[in-house]
């Protein structure tokens, strides 16, 4: 035998090993795609509590009530006027924290077609932290196309960056196509700063 270099395993052995490795990797990545991923964790889904305008909805850390839904094409915030190509939906709501200081920082609108409008761009949520038992009156304003109005639902939750494991209030805003006309003719809405305390908002 004159094969001094053949001290390692044969080529067939190496190729076989490589084949088995590749097969295992393929099976692994197939399994990875098939198993639920980090984002599909059903236990992490937010706990949705549904209600209507005027209902007090228990969010564990606070109780929220949507008081009033208004709409317009123009809002004024921080001295600047914002004109929507659609409509501004302006939701006044009240938060009463339960055991600790709390606030609402997540707001999102969704229509029946599954379109969602979050707090990006010019949309805003004007709310403040409040101690337990003391109501804080807040305002969420989001612009949507007029055709979304009849099926709009508002979702409110404690943390804008993460609603996993947390309670989310879902409120049917009860708007109709006829509201679109009224909203289009409404005057400029000046966004109020959040107000702490029992007092009802002064009518503007």
């Amino acid at each position: 035998m004159t094969a001094p270099a053949r001290t390692g395993p044969g080529l067939g052995h190496v190729l076989g090993t490589a084949l088995v490795c590749l097969a295992l990797l393929a099976v692994g990545s197939w399994l990875q795609g098939w198993l639920p991923g980090g984002d599909d964790d059903p236990a992490a889904d937010p706990h949705v509590r549904r209600g209507a305008v005027g209902d007090a909805i228990d969010l564990r850390t606070s109780t929220v009530t949507v008081d009033r839904v208004q709409g317009t094409t123009r809002v004024e915030q921080y001295g600047a006027e914002l004109v929507s190509p659609g409509l501004w939906v302006v939701v006044s709501y009240t938060v009463v924290p339960t055991e600790e200081n709390a606030s609402i920082t997540f707001a999102e609108l969704e229509d029946a077609r599954g379109r969602t409008w979050g707090l990006v761009g010019r949309n805003a949520n004007s709310c403040a932290e409040s101690p337990p038992g003391l109501p804080v009156h807040c305002t969420a304003l989001l612009e949507v196309p007029a055709d979304a109005l009849p099926t709009l639902r508002l979702r409110l939750a404690r943390l804008s960056r993460d609603v996993r494991f947390d309670a989310v209030a879902e409120v049917d805003l009860g708007l109709g196509a006829e509201d679109a006309e009224a909203f289009a003719a409404a005057p400029t809405f000046a966004v109020p700063a959040p107000v702490l305390g029992d007092g009802t908002e002064e009518e503007s």
Binding site: A5, L11, E81, S84, P85, G121
Partner: protein, 219 residues
């Protein structure tokens, strides 16, 4: 012992000797190495799908372009000293493209996604003030002059898309490439985002020249 017949060995596994293997099968090893490198590069750059299946079509200004997740139209371009309430710094000017943009995907996106849909063929200053060949523009909503930091679905905004350039290097013509994207999970963090920029349309706009004097100089 190293040259002994293989069957003599009681432990059937031999120690793995990569050096010996490479020496014995230089072509096979080289081929395997090339294969691994090719696979790694392909995986890192986004897989086998073609990045530009159709190529970008040249369209006329004012044409509605479908570039997921947007539907947009670019009408005309002009050079200006002011964009909304913002005035250009001394020695600088804006190249402003007027048009309209609408989000066609069902979830909101930020201005970064909108900036990724446009590539203007000019050197401009980005928001940090350093020159860039692919700068992110400032997008302003026409009726109120507010900055468009994000878009929700179904809303059509009339916009002014502004690039900050040197006053001396305002071009006469501006070519803009409109890029479409695909919504998919990031291979790194699993987050759903718009990736895989694909040119879907190219258009060339005549740039209306700057006014002869800077408005602030008159004051």
């Amino acid at each position: 012992m190293a040259n002994g017949p293989r069957l003599d060995r009681v432990p059937t596994r031999e120690p793995f000797a990569p050096g010996a293997l490479v020496r014995a099968h230089p072509w096979a090893s080289g081929g395997a190495l090339v294969l691994v490198v090719v696979l790694a590069v392909v995986t890192l750059t986004g897989g086998w799908s073609r990045s530009a299946p159709e190529g970008a079509a040249q369209v006329a200004p004012g044409t509605e372009v479908d570039a997921a997740p947007f539907s947009l139209r670019l009408d005309e371009a002009s050079a200006r000293f002011a964009l909304g309430v913002e005035e250009a710094e001394p020695g600088r000017a804006f190249v402003v493209v007027e048009g309209a943009v609408e989000l066609t995907s069902p979830t909101s996106v930020t201005a970064t996604t909108l900036a990724g849909a446009l590539r203007a063929d000019l050197t401009a200053y980005d928001q940090a003030g350093s020159p860039s060949d692919d700068p992110a523009p400032v997008v302003r909503v026409v009726p109120d002059g507010s900055t468009l930091l994000g878009l929700g679905p179904g809303l059509r905004y009339d916009v002014e898309i502004g690039y900050v350039v040197d006053e001396a290097s305002v071009p006469e013509r501006l070519s803009v490439t409109v890029l479409g994207h695909t919504l998919r999970r990031s291979a790194l963090d699993g987050e759903l985002r718009w990736f895989d920029a694909t040119p879907v349309a190219r258009l060339t706009l005549d740039v209306a020249p700057l006014p002869p004097t800077r408005p602030t100089e008159d004051l």
